[in-house]
Structures are given as structure tokens and as C-alpha cells.
């Protein structure tokens, strides 16, 4: 279609005329709007603590439960997006805020996500008394925490890495701060953001499932959703219901993969800086539909017009001579010092408060015990990561050396990583109960059930990225077997492996809260560990011990990341980068 840009208003109607894709798109849009309207009304129903919400195991209820689960996920994602844009922009624009915001984010990232749920649920319930909305908010908040930090970090890093020449061009051509945020910084960050967002959503399914059945103060609230469905199925030892739930989740994730994940990734390609990737894959069908159906053009035209109006408005505000002479350096230095001083004072105060809290509320022997439990869980994480590496590295390399196979299995592995492993717990647990296995040992694999895929996925990617020349050289020199692994493959995939292992270990810490103590009907299996401790104290509603457990877990994660992963990471960056 030849487009004469000079005469836009003659060209528009042509572009707006309905196409065949509208036949698919229109019902889809209207149906979605109606469903969202219905489901969001359901969120705000009256509810008194102690009241039991009827969850039926009849599989015909699953579509509705699935919808509620998806809605929670979507709401959390929207909140996370807004939060991360604001937080990352603040951290990237102000050096003073940066000093505070980045470390906070780092700590938040290592707080177990289900810990957020345990801590915040009482607050949210108090916020909306007599309504289910408080519990809904707590669940959504937990899902939000599983997505937001990751996205924020990605945005912050991208904002700090915007190429200097593009920044200069934006200033030279008088883009206002608002304009260059949306025209330069956000588009630049887009590919990485979309990738991180989609990874977060994949990880998020686990937490949706885990956060729908909220245990607080010896009272379990079941929010309608797939997570609650499976929790009731566990209570009633209903294996077939567990299978139904797994199937329903399968459909949900398939939908998410086809309707959101792949289209978004393909769309974000155009924001990539650099040459066009030669091996471009076929665009996902859903993206094609979005681009072809005229109704979406209308929407995007409207969005453009609104954006232009806003940007004109902000321009008028910020127009005129902008840059003033920089303040004298001593003044900046003084404010810096005051700022650091204030932060230090607040930190000291908080430290004292924590010290006092521990002394009065829990006692030091309890602290020692919790640290011991943390060490137990740490051992599990290390052993499991090592085992997973032993299994998946050879398999991943084997797949990675066969590119066609690798491209075929990659979507499956992404899919497996997104699938909430906690749905499979009942299957494993019923087996442990039936075979009377030692729960201290056999509950451990549950921790890595969902996260091991990150190792496999990254090892495959790392092997694929290894230049073919290296292999030819190795073959030419007769390098084989152990030497081939030691001198060629292991160093080449090391950076990718570390990335995968970091993700897997982070996920395992999180999973420990739901996997060290599990139920099957009336039988409760538990292993000693900090995850079980947190779960038990949450159920009892013992806030001081809960806070202690979460803090210690947090310290373990932070220390583990600092002492092990960061070092391996910088080693990988310095020495073993392929370029």
C-alpha cells in the first residue's frame, strides 16, 4: 500500500477500514472487557474473617477460577509496570535518590515473596474491613513483588545505559524531560523490560497459586482461583481434581504464551539498537492480528493523539531557557553530606529498633535457632543446584550443539519454567506418604522442581552462542572428551550457566516456604528449615517470629548472592566473555 505521508488525512480512512482480522479481534476485545468488569466486581464482595468461601471441586468452575487468577496476575503486572517506571526513573535521574533506592531494591529483591504476603496481609485486611478486597490486595501485592523488582532493575540499568549520543541528540533537538523519557529512555529500555517482564510473569504463576490460599492467624482464606482450588483438592485428597487444576493451568499458560509472551517479545524487537537480526523468526499470529486488525489501529491512533497532546502540554510548561548556571560546588557537597548523614541516622535508629525488638519479643536463643534452620535450607539449596547442574549441563550442551533441536525445545522449556511447580507438589507428596520416605530428604527436590529449568534454558542458550569456530578448532586439534569439556565447553557456557544458576537459586529460596512443609489431606510432612519455620509462624500469626524468620532468610539470600554469585558473575564478565 503506497502511503503518501504528505496528505495524512486522506490516507487515514484507508488504513482504518475494517479488515478480516477485525472479525476475530472485535469479539475478543468486547468479551475481554465484559469479563474484566464482571470479575473485578467479584473482588469486592462483603466478607467477614472466619467465614468460609465456598470453593467447589467441580471442574466446570475452573474457567471462572482461572479468570480470577489471570485477573490478579494482570492487575499486579500493571501496578508493577507503573511502579518500576517511576522508581527506576527516580533512581536514574537523581544521584542522591540513587544512593538510597538502589540498595533498597537490592534488599527487596532478596526478601522471599511469600514473606511479603505474610507480613502485609493484616494491613491490607484492616484497610478494607468487611470486604474480601483486603485479601485480594494482599495476594495481588505478593504477585506484584514477584515481578516489580526484576523489572525495576532492568529499567534502571537501561536508563543508565542510554547511549550518550542519543541523549545529546535529544537535548540538541529540544526534547523536554517528559518527551525524552517517552521518546528515548522508555523505548531504549523496552526490549530488556519486555524480556524481564515476561520472565517475571512466568515466575509469577507460582506465586499466584501460592498466594490465593492465605493462612493468617489460624484461619485460611481461600480466594476463588486455581490456587485455592488445588488447596481444597489437597485437603480432600482428591487426585483427579489436582489433575484438572494442572490441565487448567496448562491452558492458561498456553494462552499467556501465545497471546502475550510471544507477541510482546516480537514487538519489542524493533526497539533494539543495532543491525537487523538475520535469522528473524516468523511473527507470532497474535501480533499479526493486532497489527492487521483496523480496530487496534484506531486505538493506537487515539493513543498517539493523546500522547502528542500531553507532550505539547509538558513542552509548554518546560519551554524557555531551561538550564541555569550550576550551583556552586560547595553547596552540592554540603547537601550531599546532609543527605548521607540523614540516611545514616535513620539506619542507626532502625538498627536500634530491631535490636530492641529482638531482645524483647523473641530472645537471642531463638535467633540462633533460626540461623541454624537457615543453614539447613542453605545446604539444601547448594546440594540441589549442584545436582541440577550435574544433570542439566550435559543435557543442555547436548541440545545446544544441535541448533534445530534447540530452537524446537526452547519454547517447551520456557513453558516448563512458567508452569507453577506447586501444582505438582501433591503428586510428589502423595508418593512420599505412600512410600513412607524420609521427608527431610525427599521434600527437598520440591524446592528446585520449578526453577531447574532456568539452568537448562541458559546452558542451551550459552552453547548456542558458542562460536562454531571454537568447535572446529577443537576438532582440528583432536581435543576430545574431558579436555573438550574443560578447555572449551565449560568456560564457554560459564557466564550463561551462572545466570541460570542465580535465577534457580533465588527461586529455590522462595520455594522453600511452600515446599519444606506440605500437606496431603490430614497428613502434614515437614522438613527442618527456615522455609518451614516461616510457614508455621505465618499460620500461627506470630508476627515477631515471622519477622525474624523473614529477616534471617533475607540475610542468607543477600550473603549467598554477595559471597558466591556476584563473584562468579564478575569472574564470568572479566575472563570468560565471548567477544
Amino acid at each position: 500500500m503506497p502511503q503518501r505521508w504528505g496528505v495524512p488525512f486522506i490516507a487515514w480512512p484507508e488504513r482504518m477500514r475494517p479488515s478480516a482480522w477485525d472479525g476475530v479481534a472485535l469479539p475478543l476485545v468486547i468479551g475481554t472487557l465484559l469479563l474484566i468488569g464482571w470479575a473485578s466486581r467479584q473482588m469486592n464482595v462483603p466478607y467477614q474473617p472466619g467465614e468460609a468461601l465456598p470453593i467447589s471441586l467441580d471442574p466446570s468452575n475452573l474457567p471462572v477460577y482461572g479468570l480470577r487468577t489471570v485477573l490478579r496476575m494482570v492487575l499486579a503486572l500493571i501496578v508493577a509496570l507503573v511502579f518500576s517506571l517511576a522508581y527506576a526513573a527516580a533512581a536514574a535521574k537523581s544521584q542522591r535518590l540513587e544512593k538510597l533506592l538502589v540498595p533498597i531494591l537490592d534488599v527487596l529483591q532478596s526478601v522471599p515473596i511469600l514473606g511479603f504476603l505474610s507480613i502485609t496481609v493484616t494491613g491490607f485486611v484492616a484497610l478494607f474491613p468487611g470486604s474480601l478486597l483486603g485479601y485480594e490486595c494482599a495476594a495481588i501485592f505478593a504477585i506484584f513483588t514477584s515481578q516489580a523488582w526484576n523489572m525495576t532493575f532492568s529499567l534502571y540499568q537501561s536508563f543508565s545505559a542510554v547511549p550518550h549520543d542519543l541523549r545529546e541528540a535529544a537535548r540538541m533537538y529540544h526534547l523536554s524531560a517528559w518527551q525524552s523519557f517517552w521518546q528515548l529512555e522508555v523505548p531504549f529500555a523496552m526490549p530488556q523490560l519486555v524480556w524481564n517482564m515476561m520472565m517475571s510473569v512466568s515466575g509469577g504463576w507460582f506465586f499466584v497459586v501460592a498466594s490465593e490460599a492465605i493462612s493468617v492467624s489460624n484461619n485460611t482464606v481461600l480466594l476463588p482461583g486455581i490456587g485455592s482450588y488445588i488447596s481444597v483438592a489437597i485437603d480432600q485428597r482428591d487426585l483427579s481434581a489436582v489433575i484438572y487444576a494442572i490441565l487448567a493451568m496448562l491452558v492458561l499458560i498456553l494462552g499467556y504464551d501465545q497471546l502475550l509472551f510471544r507477541p510482546l517479545l516480537a514487538w519489542a524487537q524493533r526497539f533494539k539498537i543495532g543491525e537487523i537480526n538475520e535469522e528473524e523468526v516468523e511473527p507470532p499470529w497474535f501480533l499479526v492480528m493486532l497489527q492487521r486488525a483496523r480496530i487496534f489501529r484506531l486505538v493506537s491512533f487515539a493513543a498517539d493523539t493523546i500522547a502528542a497532546a500531553v507532550s505539547r502540554l509538558t513542552h509548554r510548561v518546560s519551554a524557555g531557557p531551561r538550564m541555569s548556571r550550576p550551583a556552586p560546588p560547595w553547596r552540592g557537597a554540603l547537601i550531599d553530606r546532609l543527605w548521607v548523614g540523614a540516611l545514616g541516622a535513620v539506619a542507626l535508629l532502625a538498627l536500634y529498633y530491631i535490636y530492641d525488638f529482638v531482645r524483647v519479643e523473641v530472645g537471642w536463643s531463638e535467633v540462633g535457632y533460626v540461623f541454624f534452620l537457615g543453614a539447613l535450607t542453605l545446604t539444601r539449596v547448594i546440594v540441589l543446584i549442584a545436582l541440577a547442574a550435574l544433570i542439566w549441563v550435559p543435557i543442555g550442551v547436548w541440545i545446544g550443539l544441535r541448533p534445530t533441536l534447540a530452537h524446537r525445545v526452547q519454547p517447551f522449556i520456557q513453558f516448563l519454567a512458567a508452569f507453577p511447580a506447586n501444582l505438582f507438589f501433591p503428586l510428589v507428596v502423595s508418593a512420599i506418604v505412600a512410600l513412607k520416605l524420609n521427608s527431610e530428604i525427599w521434600l527437598s527436590p520440591l524446592m528446585i522442581l520449578g526453577t531447574q529449568w532456568y539452568i537448562l534454558f541458559n546452558v542451551i542458550a550459552g552453547t548456542l552462542a558458542m562460536p562454531n569456530d571454537y568447535q572446529l578448532v577443537a576438532g582440528n586439534l583432536g581435543v576430545s572428551r574431558w579436555l573438550w569439556w574443560r578447555r572449551l565447553v565449560l568456560p564457554a557456557i560459564f557466564p550463561a550457566f551462572v545466570t541460570g544458576a542465580v535465577t534457580a537459586s533465588g527461586g529455590s529460596w522462595n520455594a522453600s516456604i511452600v515446599s519444606e512443609i506440605v500437606k496431603w489431606g490430614d497428613t502434614t510432612l515437614s522438613a527442618h528449615g527456615i522455609g518451614a519455620y516461616i510457614a508455621i509462624e505465618t499460620a500461627k500469626g506470630d508476627f515477631p517470629r515471622l519477622a525474624l524468620g523473614i529477616t534471617v532468610l533475607c540475610l542468607f539470600v543477600l550473603a549467598f548472592n554477595r559471597l558466591l554469585w556476584r563473584r562468579l558473575y564478575s569472574l564470568a564478565e572479566e575472563r570468560l566473555r565471548l567477544d
Partner: protein, 440 residues
Amino acid sequence: MRNLTHPPAPPPQLLAASGITKTYQTPDHSGRLVIDNIDFALAEGEIVAILGKSGSGKSTFLRILAGLTSPSSGVVEYRGQTVTSPAVGIAMVFQTFALFPWLTVLGNVELGLEAQGVPRTERRQRAIAAIDLIGLDGFESAYPKELSGGMRQRVGFARALVVNPDVLLLDEPFSALDVLTAETLRGDISDLWLARRIPTKGIIVVSHNIEEAVEMADRIIIFGSDPATIRADIPVPMARPRDVNSAAFRRLVDEVYTLLTTVPGREGGKRGPRGETIEIGYRVPDVSIQQLVGLLEALVAQPYEGRADLPNLAESEHLTTDDLVVLVESLQLLGFGHVAGGDIEVTPAGRMFAAADLQHRKQIFAEHIRRSLPLVAHIRKVLDERPGHAAPEGRFLAELEDHLSEEEAQRVLETVINFGRYAELFAYDYDRGVLSLENP
């Protein structure tokens, strides 16, 4: 707005800078001077080229003129108004194109107009006109990554011209392009300028290409480095179009080459090729030993036999001006060559080096760098004196950072480590970041 009470006025000044200095903060707060007291004016109807070796602060100076960087002292005035931020009426074309990859050609060209709040219809008309003018019609809906380098830079020019700038600042606009593409684009821009088809009243072009500067400019300004100062201001009185093979043209090119590679010396101390005193913080040029050896070998062989005309040498050895300037500077620094009258002459030491075998070359090289580079002598002395004959690189970096920026210090140390390794004066362990006398 000319003041009519002062009749025979010189052409009015578009852009004037006076007393510009720029100091960067160093870790020890002493401050490092990169631009020292530059006065400059661009008159209406003038193209001025700024030449200088890479890292001489010419790009920083251009950014100060543009209002992108603020000077430490001094004032930039555009039509009598002090410039403190990018002014409407001044546009810039970037070496790296700096196009937004997610916008089409049209989107990129419209960007400046959009930012100024020009209504959509007018914006589109003006953008289309600029795109046609620069010869990009048909590519309006293409994304930059679909275009070749030359086409991308055309987009860069269209984006600058569409805002009808008075002053066009060009930051090495052709240096990322291959020779043929650069020549074509340069010709097209010159034609637009000569035919007055663009409203631009003055152009400043930062360049590293001497012939380009002599071909385009009415005036050539040569920057000296460390810190940047104006070393020479050469008018180019030749009529256009200029014949690159005319005697006058060649003479001017020779003159500029000589100016860029030498300077009348100052007195006292060790002196570099430009006559400046060499200290530990001397910016050792970023040169590859292989290239240096290759050039020396070529120079002593046919047809040069020890003496070559610099522009000719650049052409026949396929060297860019930047490369040649750096190589020639290094040859002089090491005492292997000497520049006079646009020619380079190989010294006896240089001849000896070229004739020697590999091991002997290393010895000569070692001798010369210890003598002529204080940093090398210093490193060797420290290593000799230390009990373990080893020292962390951080120690030398810290010393260098008193004189150079962090990045530049890193680069200089890397170059010197390379020299030292080749000369087998000292060893370096990358993993530990340690310099030593060990023989690996």
C-alpha cells in the same frame, strides 16, 4: 539586526566564544585542564573546520558551542545571546548519526519539530521537504537499521536541516563512512550550501581529515592538545569548487600536516614531538607496535628510502589521518623519525631498528622507550626497587589519574604495558592486575 550607525562592518558574527576553558575534576580535586582559554568566532557565510589529533578536546569545544556542555569559564554567544543550553537556531550532526532506531526516517526527521510543538500537518510537510532535499525520498518509512551508513547520515542531516538552523555544527560527520560514500555526501552538502538551498548561515565542522577540511572550509583552526588551545588559524582563500590536485591545494595540505605533527619546541626538559615537556602523565599515543614496525619497514624500503611526503604516505599506505598522526608522533617520540616541511625522515636509529632481527629489535625498542617515556622508566624503577619485583597496576593508575582522566589513564597504561611486554622490560598478569619482572 545590524546597527547602521557603524557602517563598514565586518560580516556579522553568528556565534562567538571568548575565554573558554574547561576543567575536569580529578580524584585529588586538583582539576585537569582540557581546554585553555580559547577565543573563537564564526562569521555569517563562513565554513570553519576544526582540526586536531584525537582527544585534543575539539569535540568538547564543539559541545560547548552547542550548549550541551557548560564551560568552566568563558562565554558563548549566539547572535548576542549567551548560550547556556542548546539554542533554537543551532543544530548538530553527530559522528555516530545518533538516530532513534525505533523511529522511521520520517519520525526521526520530525523529532525536532515535534519537540518544538509544530502542528502535525506542517511538521509532516517540512519533514518531507527536508527528506527530498537531502535525497532520501522513497525511504520515509524505513527504519535506520535498514539503511546504509551513508543513508543514515543523510537522515542525520535532514533532521538537522528541517529545523532551519542558522548554525550547523558537524561533529566528524563523515568519519564513520567509507571514503566514496563520504565524498558523495560531502559534495552534496557543499552543493546545497553553495547554491544557498539551505537557510544555514554558518557551518563549523570538526574533522580529522585534512583534505576534507581544506576542501570544505573558508578557515581552518588547528587545535593543540593537553590542554586544547588554538595553535593556528589558517584562511583558505581558494575559489570553489576546489581542485584537490592543484599546487595551492597540495601546499596547504602539506602545511596542515606539518602543523599537526610538529610544533616549534619549548625549552628545557624532555620533549615530545610537539616540543612539549614529557612527564609521567604524557599521553602516550594509542599505537599498535605491529603498525609502527610495519610503517618503519615501509619507510626505509622503496620508493621512500627513508623520506616520505606525509599526505602521499597516508594515501599509499591506506592510513587515515588520525592513524598517521599517531604513528608519526610515536616514531618521533621514540627517536625513530623526524618531521619537517610535510615530510617524515627516518633517523639512523630508525634505520638500525628496521634492519635488525626480532630479538635485536626488542633490545633497541626497550632502550628507546626507557629513554623517551618517563612512565616506562618509572615503572621499571619501581619494580627494580621493590623487594618482590612486583607492583599492582592500581598504583600506577592512581599516579596517572593525577594528570589524565580515568579512562585515558587506563588507556595509556594499557599501551605502555604493551610496549613493556614487547620490549620484555616487565611482565603483566591480567588476572591479578600485577606488573612484575617475572619472566612468564
